[in-house]
């Protein structure tokens, strides 16, 4: 069945896009993959370079056990096959920021095999992206073209840093799905602590493979595994934001459709996304593609993992997003949507769980995901740095639950809390914001109102919905502090509506 929402309308009919992603995630590690050099953001140029990173004569790589552990952990988090025997290959090419003249990568036998990621659509429904493999490799250094008009400088701080390349199968069918997939993988990696997920610093970036086909072709491909059902793909290199990923895909799919509809053929090539022009442009064609001359790195022995070691890593895995989502739904009775919003960040889910202790979960979830989230976004803060703590939100929710304040007043209280005026209870007391549930006081106000507005009172008897006018007047008279439930009850009694 073809999902019509995925159709792209062209001049000659409908098209669909097929997307596969390679996510490059920098391994969260204090040291590089094959040298003892430090990894860190903000060091001066070439301050974090060992003799191995600079490829001095006679230097040899030694695998960093922790980076392997991080890759295995990630593989387990992606519900993937852990390969107990994998190996490293050399990918040979010349570039000044690649000191060895080759990148050490895992070409033939990656440390992690097939897995899968369950990804949420915006509406809370899910789809599955199959993972082809995850392998470890070295990052290159950085060429600085903007330091001197006549020269390029090279900073090798990043050279040798461990990357995990996570390769998906061509399972995404829209730019939104691709972005949602990257978001989900990022969330999993951050939960695992295997990558900090910082896309701005380039610690997580994606190469996007885009092709287009006619409706029905993709289903044939999935049935047979035969790629010839799909269109020729182009790879867009190094896209490092969700927005750019979506823009690049949209542009590229359109470009390919236009070529085909004009009677041309899409050429398999590597392309670059230009965010300033929102377009992709050719970097090198298949013919110009490097012959990387992959071969097993003779300086490194095959990587052999002890199953017991893998088991220990598996046993130490934290609760992952999918499991947490399911638990939040069952334990707190939250909707899939609410649970889905909470788990996008582990800290947010933790914050919620802390705040929700003994409180109404749905109410707590709303305060965490709406008011608090909006304020934090506004001030550019992470939830870890939130000036309001889970106990503060819990206190506010308690006041609502106890009927001390209405949800409307609660917003005002929240504003004062955010402004640093103190805890919710103290603010309510100090400002006299507690709801007026004192029937005596409210009765007096209502009786006065009825007496002063006989016409309105008569009208309500005819038309009960008009009671709202009296509610509004009571609220006005009490500065919004009247308990709406009590007001309704009293009005109905006094106006003889029951």
């Amino acid at each position: 069945m073809t999902d019509t929402s995925k159709l792209i309308v062209g001049r000659t009919g409908s098209w669909e896009m097929v997307l596969g992603l390679e996510i490059h995630a920098q391994v969260a590690s204090k040291a590089k993959l094959f040298s003892g050099a430090a990894v860190g953001f903000g060091a001066g140029p070439n301050e974090q370079v060992s003799l191995v990173d600079a490829a001095m004569p006679g230097m040899l790589p030694v695998i960093n056990r922790f980076c392997v552990e991080q890759a295995v952990k990630t593989g387990l988090g992606l519900k993937a096959q852990i390969n107990l025997r994998s190996s490293f290959d050399r990918k040979n090419y010349f570039y000044p920021d690649l000191p060895q003249g080759y990148q050490i990568s895992q070409f033939k036998d990656p440390v992690v095999g097939e897995g899968e990621v369950i990804v949420e659509h915006d509406d809370g429904s899910t789809f599955t992206v199959r993972i082809e493999r995850l392998h470890l490799e070295q990052d290159a250094g950085k060429s600085l073209h903007d330091q001197d008009p006549n020269a390029t400088y090279v900073d090798l701080n990043r050279a040798g840093t461990a990357l995990m390349e996570i390769v998906s199968k061509p399972d995404m069918r829209s730019s939104a799905e691709a972005a949602a997939y990257v978001k989900k993988v990022r969330t999993i990696l951050v939960y695992l602590g295997t990558c900090d997920g910082d896309m701005e610093k380039g610690n997580l970036r994606a190469d996007v493979n885009v092709s287009v086909c006619r409706p029905g072709a993709y289903e044939k491909f999935r049935e047979t595994g035969d790629f010839s059902h799909l269109g020729t793909r182009c790879e867009i290199k190094n896209v490092n934001s969700y927005r750019y990923i979506q823009q690049a895909i949209e542009y590229e799919a359109r470009r390919q459709i236009e070529i085909i509809e004009d009677g041309g053929k899409v050429v398999q090539e590597t392309r670059l996304f230009d965010p300033s022009k929102i377009e992709t442009r050719s970097m090198r064609s298949k013919e110009e593609a490097h012959d990387y001359r992959y071969f097993p790195d003779p300086d490194l022995l095959p990587l052999v993992l002890d199953p017991a070691w893998v088991k220990r890593i598996e046993d130490s895995l934290p609760e992952l997003p999918d499991a947490k989502k399911a638990r939040l739904q069952s334990q707190y009775g939250l909707s899939a949507y609410d649970a889905g919003v909470l788990i996008t960040e582990q800290a947010r889910a933790d914050f919620f769980e802390e705040a929700a202790k003994g409180r109404d979960a749905k109410l707590t979830s709303n305060w965490v995901t709406n008011e608090l989230a909006a304020r934090l976004t506004g001030s550019g803060q992470d939830i870890e740095d939130s000036p309001l703590k889970p106990a503060d939100i819990a206190e506010l929710v308690a006041l609502i639950e106890e009927g001390v304040i209405s949800s409307k007043i609660a917003k005002d209280v929240f504003d004062r809390m955010w402004a640093g005026e103190g805890g919710a209870r103290a603010i309510v007391e100090k400002q006299g914001l507690q709801q007026v549930s004192d029937t005596g006081a409210l009765e007096k106000i209502i009786e006065d109102l009825i007496a002063a507005n006989p016409g309105q009172a008569a009208a309500v008897v005819e038309k009960p919905q008009a009671v709202g006018w009296f509610v509004g007047q009571v609220m006005k008279a009490t500065g919004g502090k009247a308990n709406p439930g009590t007001v309704n009850q009293l009005l109905k009694a006094k106006l003889g509506l029951e």
Binding site: L51, A54, A55, M56, P57, G58, M59, L60, P61, V62, I63, R90, N92, F94, P96, P99, Q100, G101, Y102, V154, D291, R293, Y294, F295, P298, D299, L300, L301
Partner: protein, 490 residues
Amino acid sequence: MSNLTSLTLKAALAGLADKSFSSVELTQAHVDAVAAARPLNAYILEAPEKALDMAAASDARRAKGEAGALDGAPLGIKDLFCTEGVRTTACSNILGNFIPTYESTITSQLWRDGAVMLGKLNLDEFAMGSSNETSAFGPVVNPWRAEGSNAKLTPGGSSGGSATAVAADLCLGATATDTGGSIRQPAAFTGTVGIKPTYGRCSRWGVVAFASSLDQAGPIAKTVEDAAILLKSMSGHDAKDSTSLDIEVPDFPSFVGKSVKGLRIGIPKEYRVDGMPAEIEKLWEQGIAWLKDAGCEIVEVSLPHTKYALPAYYIVAPAEASSNLARYDGMRYGLRVDGANLTETYEKTRAAGFGTEVKRRIMIGTYVLSAGYYDAYYVKALKVRRRIADDFDQAFQKVDALLTPTAPSAAFALGENADDPVAMYLNDIFTVTVNLAGLPGMSIPAGLDHKGLPLGLQLIGKALDEGTLFSLGGALEKAADFRAKPTRWW
């Protein structure tokens, strides 16, 4: 005191121990010998001041009773070993005046044990060659000459400088490396002892790489026992080399002189190659007879894939070399020849920096790893390599060691094979199999040919069984009683 240079390492260490002479005296004698032997071109860097400083420090240590296993012994270092603060070139222009800020693991172990460095020894560029003629510093000249001839002979390669320095008494022993025979063939050509230990026995860290899966360092020495003493210091696990073996180092010298009675020695029939000089055939027979006399049992064995070894070697070694030498790009150290753009800078730098043989091997290696050729060449060569290792495994089910000639000829004239790379490659025919299988191999001087040039016999051992090779080598050395020395003409 020039006779100090004619001492064996063992004798010199004994002399130092009983204070017959000081390390400064011993070292000065060698420094003088080195300076007087420049026509041999063995040393491409002499370090007399450093040597004498190290010698003085050694004498001070010995006076305090803190002498190490090699304390005060002056050695030559093949210029493939990085030496901190001392120019290291791999005899290539591409490294120019590269001065490492670090010391190779092997040399640091030698200095740890008190040895003294006389200087850096010549070699074929990046250890690629069998005659020392590919060196950017010009060839080493073999101290041996054919009777009645003044023709300059090759000392073999790639460790020609190491072999010559030992043969001409320009050091008490030398470090060397062996990727396809680079220790054993020069040892055979110069009447010295050379051992390539089991792959992984000696750390490769700080040794300029040629072909990582084949490269292995070892010593060239005057006697089997000297070689054992040196190898003991050079060996040991190094966490900085992932292929280094984490295994205890045996007391190699204690194996020398041990009885070899009852050992079974295999004679691989495939090593009787066409066109091998009768003298070498005869020497081999003689070696068999000596070991028989020493109580060994001689068994004919078959290594059926031997004929594929050389082609496989000349695929695997260049393939690895083409990648290992990619780092010499003019960007960070060594030679750089600027071009109009990046590609041109790479091209000019590498064209100027590498010699013909190195370029040839980079091109062969690049070719065999290329898309479309990889399976036909590289993958097939790896399969052959596996078969060759299996051949040895089979043979070692039946025997304790193998005996073969080291090289198919005696030292040849400089220039003789310079224009024929294939003829040059054939020098390695008996030695490359050992590298492909990662086994230990040793060359022992066993006799002279009709022109008075030394010939060597090779012993091949089981993995990690250098001990047996030292026992057998000691037995052969004793039986051969090889005492000939080159007549000094330089």
